[in-house]
Structure formats: C-alpha cells, structure tokens
Symmetry: C2
C-alpha cells in the first residue's frame, strides 16, 4: 500500500470536480486506488505518507488518437487540407518507417514527449511496417506506459511504399498481438487506416480478425467533406460513412474508436450510439486541417461515448491539456453558431473527457475512485499561482497556461514513471 | 552601427517570408535597420559581428489589444460569456487597481511576462485609476519596451468602484499624456471602454480630446451578439455599432484600434475601410468568451488594416505566437464554414499580421526593411529542430510548438532588453 498527500482533484462525473484540499489517496500493491480521504483513516495511522505539499494531484492524460510515425511532421505543413496533406507530407514520412533505425530515433522521442506532456495511456496508429510497430510497442513497455498499437492496414489509394496486402495486414496484426501476449499495459488494436485506404476485402478480413480475438478497432470517420463524398463514391451501398465500417464488422462488434466525426449526424449518430462506438474528438487537428467542428455536445446529449486525441500531426501539440482547451473553445464556437442551442462544455466536462471518459477504453482508468488504476500527475504550479487562487482556479490556470514544466511526477498503473531515454 | 548574423526571417509582404540563411542585419545608432544582406557588404568588412549561429532572428511580436489589469484573471473564469464575465470577474478585479501596491505587484509581472513571450510593443487598457496607469507606463519605460497606455473612461453600467466622470477621464488622460511627453517608446491612447460603458457626453469629450492632441484611440467593437443588441438600444440613431463611435469622433479621426469585430459587415465594414480603422483580431478571446469568429479574410480582401491582440483575460495566453496559431485555425474554420469561399490564412499572412501589420500602428515597426525599428527576437529552436527541417519549417514549428523557453534574446528599437524585475 502506498499513501500520497496532495491537493487532489478529479472528475467522477462530468458535472463537477471532486476536490480534496490536502487530501490523501491510498494505492494498493496492484496499482489500484483504494480510496481518497479528507483525513488519513485510522487504519493508515503511522504508515509512511509521501507528501506532495501544496502541489496538485490529478489523473494522468489519455490520448485516444495519435499517429506515432507522423511525429517528425508535428507543427509543419499546416497550409494544406486533409487529402493533399496526406499525399504530400504524411504518406512520404510514414514510408520512412521501413528503416528501423529511423523508426527508433523518432519513436523514442515520441514516447519521451508523451511522457513529458503527462499522457500515460495512448492509442496510436503505427505504420504498415511490422518491425517498427513492434519496436514502438516495446518502447512503451520499457517506459512502463500503457498503449494500444495499431499496425495499419492500407491497400489502395496510397503510395506503393506504404501499402500492404490484406494477408499482410492480418498476419502482422496477429503477430503484434502475439508479441504482446501477457503484456498488461501494451496491446494491439485492429487498424484499417480509413475506408478510402482499404478495399472491401481488407475491411472484411480486419473485421473478422477483430471478432476472432475480441481485439479493439480504431479508424477515422467523417473528418472532412471531401473525404465523406469520396467514401460515398467508394461505398455506394452504405447508408453513411459509419455504415461502411459496420457492414464489415468494424463498428462496435468489438470496442471501437472513430476519430473526428465532424459531420456525424442522423443515421451515423444513431449507429454510433447503438453500437457504443467512441468519438475521438481531435479539435486541434480539425482546426489545422480546416476540417470543421465536431458536435460534441450533441454526442454527449445522445449518450455517445467521447474521448480526446492529439492526432499528431494533424494536431500540432501532444499535450492533452492543450487539446482540452480547444475542446472547450470549439464547443463555444458551436454555441455561438447555434445561437445558444448547443450548450458549451465546462472545464469539468473537458477534464472528464480527457481522463475518465477516454480512460474507460482501457478499463477502470482516469479517476481516483476505488478500483481505478492509479494513473496520476503531480503538478507544481507555484509559478502560475501568483495570487492565492482557489484549487479549481489553479487547475483551470494549469489547463490554460501550463505545460510540461509544471508536471513534476507521473504515475501509470500505480508505478512512478521515469523519463524515457531519447 | 551594430551587425548581427543569424538565420533571418521576416515578412515584407503577407504573401511570403524573406529568408536569409546565415544572413546579416545592420542596425544604426538610432536603432533602425540599415539593411539585411546575404553576404556582409564590403563597407562592413572587419567590423564586429554578433553571430547568433544557427539560431533564428525574427521581428518581435506586437500585441495591439490587452487588458493589463486583468492579468490576475488570466486562465480562470472561462465558463462565462462576455457580459456576465465582465460583471462577475473583470470589473471586481479592475477595481482593485485603486491600491497602488496591488497594481505594482501585478503590473510588474504583466510587463515581465510580455517580455518573456517576446512582445516588445503593446497597446494596453489600464483602468480608471490615474496613479496605477502612470505606474504601468513607467514600468514599460524602465523595461525599455514600447507601449501605448489607455486610462479607461467608463461612467455607466459599471460598478461605482470602477467609474469615473467625463471630466476625470479627460483630465487623467491628459495628465498621462503630459507625464509621457518626450518619451519615445511609451505614450497615451484615448480609451473609452466601449459604448455601453460610456455616456454620449463622455464619448464626445474623449473624441474631442483625441482630435485636440492627435492622440490615437482604442475601444471594442461588435464582439458579441448580446453586446451589439445592447448598443443598438443605447444608440438608436447610429446606423451600426461602429457608427456610434464615428458620431463622437472616435472612429478614424485619429489612428484607431477596434478590438474583435466578430460581426462587422456591411456599413460598419465600409466605415472601417474608409476611415482606416484597425481591426484588432483576438481569436483566443473570441473562442474563450464564445463570441464568434471574425471574418479576417474579408477584412484583408477589403483592405481594412488588421492586427493581433492577446486580449488578456478574455484571451488565455500572452504569447502572440499562440494568437497567431488561433488566427490561422479560426480562418480555417471560416474556410470550412464558407465551403471554401473564404480562403484561410497562410503562415506568412499570420506572421505579417503579428509583426508588420500590427507594428504599423507604432510607425515603421515589425519588419527588417531599411528604416524599420530593430525590434527582434533570437530563437534557439535546437530542441525543436529534431530532424534538419528547412528554415521556414523551423519557424512554423516554433510558432506551433515553441514558447518562451526558446526566446534567448529580445530587442526593442535597437536595444537589447534585459529581463524586467518582477
């Protein structure tokens, strides 16, 4: 059992923060939270307490959509839309991951910088390359950070240097899964890039693979108007873009993440709700690629699960705190656009999306309720706390003004995580 | 004469960066740029050159709209819209600036953090308090940074603790102007808060004051729908919100800044163009306060001058680089909304807004062309330059990923500016 004392804040529900000023959290030997307490309970009297003083203790961040092999392109090439951006910058960069030395250089930095920004759980697209994808998984394992790694399937509309066959995509995903057997923190996720990149044959085979091993699935959905029009051409028998995934068994038969959903409504919304398919909201990316504004309030009203993603390198920053800012801000622009009909997100709602709602894809993750994995960040915000703010205002200032400098400790599944080697 | 060598980038025009790899800039004894050169000209051979090596040298940032006395509130209270936000958080905070000790504590930090973020020219709202406003001006003067300081006029719809009379607003602005006589970098600007805060009598008197001394003017315009409706009630004879300022001589009779302009169109747009009134685009604030998206491409197409502002504490961050990101991103959402009709901003356009276009309000500022004040930042982006990016991509990465850590030197009007004392 470990005991920590700090100013503890988390969101058991989206409506409000639970705040414990100088409170305690007990973490058992399995890395799970036993409880949070205003006062140290009698049973723990005399036990050793690690005291973080006036610092903040909050759940760690979860990034449910990020392209690891686009890390070099973070913050460049922002003057293009999705489809030309893919062809001009993204596909050529991802093709480089055939070279394991290049992959190691970039993936090491990627994992390091996730750590720096306080992200302890990540669902990542890798590439078509099996060796580089294993390497990425191994780097997460060595770091002690949790991840789901997607060996990407793509066999049409990409360059030859970045295409695999249906057989390869299935075989290499299976191999990745087997490589990670018994690994408690890192696992494989079935990853068709998106409908335009995968023939019906590949989509069908990946759907079968997911069901065979009960593997989760991730892909992209309704990000951009040109893409949606393209899918309509490619899949004329589907009632909507989401239905194209559904028809191939990739839309909730197993736990499923769909990134973006800027234009999801009607039938697609209904299908997501029915099949408990997650929206991964990537507002930085949706701004940078001129995609649009996802109707997050509508998803929440309808009970569709929502998580947050940095979507590097459509997104420009790894920090999920930064993504939280944009989630709040985009919801406010939707509010203005709808003349107040769609209520904007509050800070506690955005925080809940980043922690408990996103964390749920990994199980009991993202909260400090009993039985949750102790994924946590210690924030030393002394340099931001210039005038005796309340604890909720200190957290709000950290979300809006802070960065990696104020994160002084990180925990994943109960263990303190040291800085990964670059 | 001083000579600097670095990787020099700036925007003589919005369309493109001028890039000098390992180039030179000569700065004369008046702090003005003599020229930039690919090779050191013969006349300077043998002269001492300060070599910044592989670092970037760019024009410093200009913040054309910021509320200095809202600095404590930066990053808090984001769950409200403009009018309730003003009454609940902003007015009570500004009322504290009657206390000079409080003002000094906060204003010192404000000036320090502008410095940290690379902003060398600032147009700031102060408060109604003459002593605190002089103090703010003096802190800029001591730092060696340039500013225009607005003693705020407001005599209706605010709390008693934050109201002055027409006579006081005129007298105290005049006093501030006289206090700063002969100061080359810091001066006074006429500052009616906005139409709802000022009676016609006060607006008229401030318009006369501006014309009498040819003082510039700043205020707020068409930020939010409720505010516009309110102005319509208060000023039924004006053809639009902007016309209310015009009728009182506050809309371009002297150089004029109008913050926000989210809903400016038609007659108001025409008036701004005719009178060369600046739009100060504050996209972070417009998101945070759920105000809306200003049509910047339309302003640029029409030839209305545009600058950028952090608008603390509606905006959440002082960095104008951060504001640049939002200017780009909001223009992309406008592009998506208009289905491509309004072209989004490019990086060079956003950079130009932050430097040369905003700087023009101060004179020849914001470029490295001959005759421009040498306001500059030296950026050491080694930690961001992880894979031999091109110079334009290094700058783009700095804009999207960088922060105060990479700014290693700052110059204003030719002088290197040391860290101001907190």
């Amino acid at each position: 059992m470990k005991l920590y004392r700090a100013n503890i804040m988390f969101t058991p529900s989206p409506e409000a923060f639970q705040v414990l000023e100088g409170g305690y959290v007990a973490v058992n030997d399995n890395g799970l939270v036993e409880g949070v307490y205003e006062q140290l309970p009698a049973e723990y009297k005399g036990a050793e307490v690690t005291d973080f003083g006036d610092k903040l203790l909050i759940p760690a961040m979860n990034d449910l959509h990020v392209h690891a092999p686009q890390y070099r392109n973070q913050g460049i090439a922002m003057d293009l839309e999705l489809l030309p951006w893919l062809n001009t910058y993204t596909f050529p960069e991802e093709s480089k991951y055939k070279d394991l030395a290049y992959a190691e250089k970039m993936y090491r930095r990627f994992v390091h910088d996730l750590w720096a920004n306080g992200t302890m759980r990540t669902v990542a697209f890798a590439t078509i390359h099996p060796e580089a994808s294993k390497l990425l998984a191994d780097l997460f394992t060595t770091a002690g950070m949790s991840a789901m790694i997607g060996l990407v399937g793509m066999n049409r509309n990409g360059p030859d240097t970045l295409s695999n066959t249906t057989e390869e995509a299935v075989r290499d995903t299976e191999a990745l899964m087997n490589h990670l057997k018994g690994n408690k923190l890192v696992s494989a996720i079935v990853t068709p890039r998106f409908v335009p990149s995968c023939t019906p044959d590949m989509l069908k085979a990946l759907g079968e693979l997911a069901r065979k091993y009960n593997l989760p699935v991730q892909s992209h959905l309704s990000e951009n108007r040109s893409e949606i029009a393209w899918v309509k051409e490619l899949e004329p028998e589907s009632t909507c873009y989401g239905d194209a995934y559904r028809r191939y068994g990739l839309f909730g038969d197993t736990p499923t993440l769909m990134a973006h959903c800027c234009y999801t409504e009607g039938e697609e919304l209904r299908l997501m709700k029915e099949n408990h398919v997650y929206v991964v909201h990537c507002p930085t990316s949706n701004c940078n690629l001129a995609s649009g504004m996802a109707p997050i309030r509508t998803f929440l009203n309808e009970g569709v699960p929502v998580a947050l993603g940095s979507d590097i390198s459509g997104g420009h920053h790894l920090s999920i705190f930064r993504v939280m800012q944009y989630a709040l801000q985009i919801s406010k622009l939707k509010y203005a656009e709808s003349k107040g009909a769609l209520k904007f997100l509050t800070l506690s709602e955005a925080f809940w999306l980043a922690t408990k709602s996103g964390g749920a894809f990994f199980g009991k993750v993202g909260s400090f309720e009993k039985g949750y994995a102790f994924d946590a960040l210690v924030i030393d915000d002394a340099d931001l706390n210039i005038d005796n703010y309340s604890l909720p205002h200190r957290l709000e200032r950290y979300v809006y003004l802070g960065d990696d400098r104020q994160i002084v400790k990180r925990f994943c599944a109960g263990k303190e995580i040291a800085e990964p080697k670059i």
